[in-house]
Symmetry: C2
């Protein structure tokens, strides 16, 4: 198949909408006046794309579906983004809504290596959401981080991840921090039988990230985190294809390109580039996504999608631990509930408060399973 | 110095603005309730940052200046973006307006290696804007590209760059294309004495890009192009620091994060991460930036800025060749004027039309110099 379908939302007056749609088509294909492309037989037959649908949605907004050339992408992950929304992203009247992935791209865009089932295997838990917390604030020493880790782990949290501000800073160097956290995880397992999954944050230029991944895996880490909009999505893609032998959780930092529909960016693009779990800003916290936007992100991350494994939705961002039951019911069993600051506020009662959160998630999940 | 200053624009009702400002400060620093950070002496002294200024600008909009911790960044380019605008980018009521670069970061953020003077040395032209055109549409074979190159080069264009859709596709493979264009450039030089600078587009995952840079430089290429928002800004950074021995032109594709002030994204961030010349969507073309936005981008790219070399502004995006004189006067001598489709429309008259464009730029620059 020569083309793949991409859906945009256009804001334009009715009398101009045909012109605007044609302009988007040209922008995402030949990027020249139509007459220039038509001069060359190969371009005319394979690269022009076409308008599949153009329909009004609501006042002044239109849905535009384009067929865009697979030949423009071949197997280059950066070109995939480029053909999808490269220059059109510069227009504030155009948003990227959705895309289909053609079979021809399955080879180089396999999506998550592990996905939901792979992460569940690592954690050893089925039938309920996983609980998750974060090591923060930035500036803690390695031993302070280890202390925090210990409290959260003994409380029964499934996954403990680095704050996304933790990189390889001198006050808690990457290798030292990873070693310390893994050591605590082993102690906790030996003493309590609870196996917690530690997820260090990889940050830096591509080479640094590759070295961090190597170090982490050599030390025994079984999952990592990365913020693909900080590093570039192709860096995530390369890491998954070449270096990583463990699942990867994607962080949404720097992804404020608010003309990409959030469920398309987090639910499809992050997943497609290899994230096994995707953190996003939950409704009712300190970010402004509406509940239905979050539901759509979660739905898309878990949806059956060709060869692409489902990925875990990880709602986060100022979530109150007291909302455990609500969130279990909202996001269902296949989710990771990430609570940070709300637990850390408890100070010396951290372990106790975390334990309560963990128990509430487990209880709500039991209820859900019984009723569902 | 422990802190660097970052300026945001906030949209909020007056009665909430203090709360919103405090929330941004926490988001960009400890990402926990303030009480949590205060518990740790190191965090309290080095990582909390502070509000430097909070002032109303216009109805419902406020300027917020924060001091943010250098210790959070140390020498990690991804963390620099993270501390600058990581999670706050997810809020539609917050835009990133500006930032100062502290001396402590000069070492790992040197900016352009060559800058305006370095590119001028490559081209061998001073005292006027450089002319630039693009090899497109995508789908041309290598010999069709070479033909196009020949026409543009004989017309006297200074810089000929790949279209940003050109990657390593099978219809015009990277190495073959680079070889062909360089060969034509040599022929044109031998026959006419005009030395044109060919700029191939680097695209793909970090490893692919590194290999392409190697290949290109080994073949004799003297400048390259990259789209840092497709590849990730840290990939540009690494490329400049480790692989490239030639100037790099940055392309704006996929940079539609419309809550970063364009002059900050293109004029400062792209420059700071190593771009020697930055392409942006010009006013009066097919994109919607206003003239004053473009002027600000150009001003910032060329501004004196600590250790950071000035970079060339490259206005582009559906520019009509007939505007040559206007653009020379608007952007001044230190600019690269990139015209693509408007020339390519000329078909068999390409060389002639391009020659006219080149002459008009040269003439307008002479006028400018005389009068200025």
């Amino acid at each position: 198949m020569d083309y793949f379908r991409v859906t945009y939302c256009l804001e334009a007056p009715q009398e101009k909408i045909e012109t605007v749609a044609e302009a988007v088509l040209l922008e995402q294909t030949t990027e020249t006046p139509r007459s220039v492309g038509l001069r060359y037989p190969f371009v005319r037959h394979h690269m022009m794309g076409q308008i599949e649908r153009l329909e009004p949605i609501s006042n002044g907004h239109y849905e535009l579906v384009l067929s865009l050339p697979v030949r423009g992408v071949e197997s280059d992950p950066a070109q995939f983004l480029n053909v999808l929304f490269g220059n059109s992203s510069l227009h504030s009247h155009i948003s990227l809504e959705d895309f289909d992935l053609p079979g021809a791209m399955a080879g180089f865009l396999p999506g998550p290596t592990f996905g939901i089932n792979g992460i569940r295997d690592m954690v050893g838990v089925t039938g309920r959401p996983l609980t998750c917390s974060a090591l923060k604030p930035i500036g803690l020493s390695t031993s302070e981080i280890a202390h925090l880790f210990r409290e959260l782990a003994y409380a029964g949290i499934d996954i403990i991840k680095d704050d996304h501000y933790l990189a390889d800073q001198s006050f808690a160097p990457f290798g030292e921090r990873v070693r310390a956290c893994l050591e605590v995880a082993e102690q906790v397992y030996a003493n309590s039988g609870h196996r917690v999954l530690y997820v260090p944050n990889l940050s830096g230029s591509p080479d640094t990230i590759r070295r961090q991944a190597e170090t982490a895996q050599a030390l025994g880490v079984r999952a990592v985190m990365i913020a693909p909009m900080l590093t570039g999505l192709p860096t995530l893609h390369e890491l998954c294809r070449t270096e990583l032998t463990v699942p990867v959780i994607a962080h949404p930092s720097f992804s404020g390109s608010n003309n990409i529909r959030p469920s398309t960016l987090f639910g499809k693009l992050f997943r497609l580039f290899g994230a096994d779990a995707v953190i996003f800003a939950n409704y009712g916290g300190r970010f402004s996504y509406a509940a239905d936007v979050c539901a759509e992100i979660a739905t898309r991350l878990r949806a059956d999608w060709m060869h692409v494994k489902p990925a875990f939705p990880v709602p986060a961002g100022g979530m109150d631990a007291a909302r455990a039951s609500e969130l279990v019911h909202f996001f269902g069993v296949d989710s990771i509930l990430l609570v940070g600051g709300s637990l850390l506020e408890a100070g010396e009662h951290l372990r106790e408060k975390t334990k309560r959160f963990v128990e509430e998630v487990h209880a709500a999940a039991m209820m859900l399973q019984k009723n569902g």
